[in-house]
Amino acid sequence: MKGKKEKKTIKTIKIDVDKCNGCRACEMICSAFHAEPKYSSNNPARSRIRIIREPLRDLYVPVYAGEYAVAECAGRDKYTIDGKEYDECSFCRASCPSRDEFKEPDSGLPLKCDMCEGEEEPLCVKWCPHDALILQQREEEGEAQDPQDELENLEIGLEALADKYGMEKIKDAVARISKKV
């Protein structure tokens, strides 16, 4: 399957930090949308976007949750922009063992932005009142999606579980579940 070309839609969220007012509506709606059932609960700590918000230093940066990282980076980055210093790893999208960002608060499972699959428009974009978040779409020719990718996602989830609970426990759980099915 590899090598086959197809048209793909690339979605980009343009972030204008100058327009962010720090209201966290994006965090709120993201957590509500991903609740089970949809909109049944609310908890910004479970959002896949987070606002770095430090009013007294005028820091307002929306950051999206990206890939899961098994181990923390040995080398880190720390930015100063326009004279304003940001914390280490501020702009990193990873759900990483070094910090609490982008993890389910109870289970610790990694969170990742899925662009609000199934919705017309990402909800954080829709709810952002001042166009700090804007969606742009474009068509691009690219490699066809490998069905393998889905499996890869599953594996990432399992890996995270294994990191948290240990491989043995996961095996036991899988065995238990398979018996039930």
């Binding site: 720090g22 209201c23 609740a35 049944s40 609310n42 430090e54 009013p55 007294l56 001042h130």
Partner: protein, 668 residues
């Protein structure tokens, strides 16, 4: 499962250092909603009138509103309730920002403080883990500074902090509780927090808040969002800018201050300066604000950006919203540059932006008029600005004359004597009011000023236009999309209202119409204060996104219990009456229900009497402003009735006050 609310309060006994998580009764939520409503119930049950504000038995309640933490736009108010040291009555000040939702996500609807801590402490609520921590190292620190220090030491950048400054620690009667861009300022609740030995409450929460009918609830929220957009694109024509749009008065955005500076009073609410707003001043003030303001900012889940980050050269950054922008400037007859600078210090000290400048201007007036002398102000600078800084410091430290002034104009005047009382002229129920003095009585405002127990006009007015449009056709156009009215008759009231002639003030709107209008205005504020909604999106502006027709749907979808307009109105009336009952039990009577004597030049004593008589009856109160047994019964408040009879405030079966009780309960 409990919906919208968490179903738990945090009970903190500061004397013993004991902390308990207590499940609440869902029945109470149906009766009193939440926020202000359930706070009032707790205060009635647990703080009898013998309890002094600074007694360990006084409670200080921080409550999130019923809908805080849900996706309802702008629903982020913390309602802080206690007995005020200044008025000796129930105080309920609200703050926006981020505290209330965070408290809900931590798993609590309220934090109830009782007792007194032997040492200064702060309360750290981290979901289920709650502890009192020593605050010796932040004693005397500014309120904003305190929040920064605590977030750092706990390594919790996302924790929300409500803190007092030096004013609260020293029990200044107009001390505020500060929370970043917001504060709960009125009524001296910061002094009660200081008296309890609590420097700050810090909260971080990462748990879910549930709603009962998710799809319906989201539809309602989406409608509100769309309507906000619509209203932002379509300001109300023909009214001044701060009344045209939504949100709190947009003081951080507007440059044109002609209306405030020329219509509000300067100094100790004395001097009107017509012609003040020249091009030169407009230019200078615009430059000041543009340079100072780094960014316009919102409260949790709200698009309105009513606040701003302010950085004055050489001073730490702070946040501001609303009219504090001008109160210091006008109190000191100075300019905006001074106002924004001193407000930085005042915010760190944690004082109310309405009362503080008036107290200082009052002191200077007493000096000017020989009631106080230079000896009372050792080493005070000569210039007005210098004097304001000097007085602010003296007050929050309670040094010398500052110790007297720290009790507010009413008590200070009483202590100083010698005619000082005449200078404490802008109070209602001992509480300093907006600096406004007008010519002819406005019957609607007369009722609101007299009976509004929040004692702050902006917390009862709204919904109904402040004045009629000159032309009938414009009034007709206004009512076309006025679906917010609880009853069609309000449209007619407005259409017929003329600026001049027979159907004009003070005799039109008629007494009965005034009762309807004031009741509607007040009701919406009381609903907001129970739900935790910002008045800026609801009860304050004209044609707001939330109103009596969609609120019951919001409540039903969020909580799962049935609610319609009638039952919501009844609930609001119930806890509104309970607030009155708490104050009646503390001695408040008809004699206290009046605006400052000089608020209007032209008064109409007969009309005013009729207004109060009729409004009391309308509300189910007797001639002395006491809720009657019949009306209490109808609201399911028989326990209030029984208490009133036991205390001799009401006589069984007779709805007039007993003379003895009236005499005993006289406020001093």
């Amino acid at each position: 499962m409990r919906y919208a609310e968490t179903g738990y309060n945090l009970e903190v006994d500061l004397t013993r250092g004991n902390i308990e998580k207590v499940a609440t009764n869902p029945k109470e939520t149906e009766l009193y909603l939440g926020g202000l409503g359930t706070n009032a119930k707790i205060l009635w049950d647990r703080v009898p009138p013998e309890i002094e504000p600074f007694s360990p038995e006084n409670l200080l309640i921080f409550s999130a509103g019923l809908l805080c933490g849900t996706p309802a736009t702008g629903c982020n108010r913390t309602i802080v309730t206690t007995i005020s040291p200044q008025t000796k009555l129930m105080a309920f000040s609200m703050m926006g920002g981020f505290f209330a939702p965070e408290l809900k996500y931590a798993g609590y609807d309220k934090v109830i403080l009782r007792g007194k801590s032997p040492n200064l402490v702060y309360l750290w609520i981290n979901n289920g883990k709650v502890e009192l921590r020593d605050a010796a190292h932040i004693k005397g620190k500014g309120a904003i500074e305190t929040a920064e220090i605590i977030r750092k030491e706990l390594k919790q950048p996302k924790a929300q902090v409500a803190a007092i400054g030096l004013a609260g620690e020293n029990r200044v009667f107009f001390a505020s509780i500060e929370q970043g861009r917001s504060s709960a300022s009125r009524g001296g609740i910061g002094a009660v927090m200081g008296d309890k030995g609590v420097k700050a409450i810090v909260v971080r929460g990462t748990q879910d808040i549930h709603v009962a009918k998710p799809a319906e609830y989201m539809d309602l929220c989406n409608e509100v969002m769309q309507y906000i957009q619509f209203r932002n694109d379509n300001p109300i024509p023909g009214v001044m800018p701060i009344l045209a749009g939504l949100g709190s008065p947009q003081e951080m955005k507007v440059h044109d201050e002609k209306w405030h500076t020329e219509n509000f009073m300067w100094g100790n609410s004395r001097v009107r300066r017509k012609g003040f707003w020249t091009d030169e001043i407009a230019g200078e003030w615009m430059e000041t604000l543009d340079k100072a303001r780094t960014r316009l900012i919102s409260c949790y889940n709200c698009p309105m950006t009513c606040g701003a980050t302010i950085s004055m050269p050489g001073l730490p950054t702070y946040m501001m919203k609303c009219f504090t922008k001008l109160t210091y400037t006008m109190g000191a007859f100075s300019n905006l540059d001074f106002g924004l600078k001193i407000a930085q210090r005042a915010t760190e000290y944690g004082v109310d932006g309405f009362s503080a400048p008036q107290v200082m201007a009052f002191a200077l007036e007493l000096l000017e008029n020989g009631i106080l002398s230079d000896k009372d102000f050792p080493d005070m600078p000569q210039d007005n600005e210098g004097r304001f800084y000097y007085l602010l410091d003296k007050i929050v430290r309670r040094e010398g004359i500052g110790d007297v002034l720290a009790d507010g104009t009413h008590w200070a005047a009483e202590a100083i004597g010698n005619g000082a009382e005449d200078y404490a002229h802008n109070n209602i129920k001992k509480h300093e009011q907006l600096p406004l003095k007008l010519s002819m009585l406005n019957p609607i405002y007369f009722l609101m000023y007299s009976t509004g127990e929040k004692m702050n006009i902006t917390q009862i007015e709204g919904q109904f236009p402040q004045a009629p449009y000159p032309k009938r056709e414009h009034r007709e156009a206004f009512v076309k999309d006025w679906h917010h009215v609880p009853d069609e008759k309000f449209k007619q009231y407005f259409v017929d209202w003329e600026p001049r002639g027979e159907k004009s003030m003070p005799f039109y709107p008629t007494v009965d119409m005034c009762c309807d209008i004031v009741d509607w205005q007040e009701k919406m504020h009381y609903i907001d204060d129970a739900l935790g909604m910002c008045a800026g999106l609801s009860s304050f502006p004209l044609k707001p996104p939330y109103h009596i027709h969609n609120y019951p749907k919001f409540i039903s979808a969020a909580t799962g219990f049935d609610m319609d307009e009638a039952s919501l109105s009844q609930a609001a009336k119930r806890y509104r009456t309970l607030v009155r009952a708490i104050n009646i039990r503390r001695g408040m009577r008809r004699k206290d229900d009046q605006p400052p004597k000089n608020h209007w030049k032209k008064r109409f004593p007969e009309l005013e009497k009729e207004l109060l008589d009729t409004y009391y009856r309308f509300k189910g109160w007797n001639d002395d402003g006491i809720p009657t047994q019949a009306s209490l019964h109808e609201l399911g408040l028989d326990y209030v009735s029984e208490d009133f009879v036991k205390r001799g405030i009401l006589t069984e079966g007779e709805d007039a006050p007993s003379k003895v009780a009236a005499a005993q309960q006289e406020t001093k």
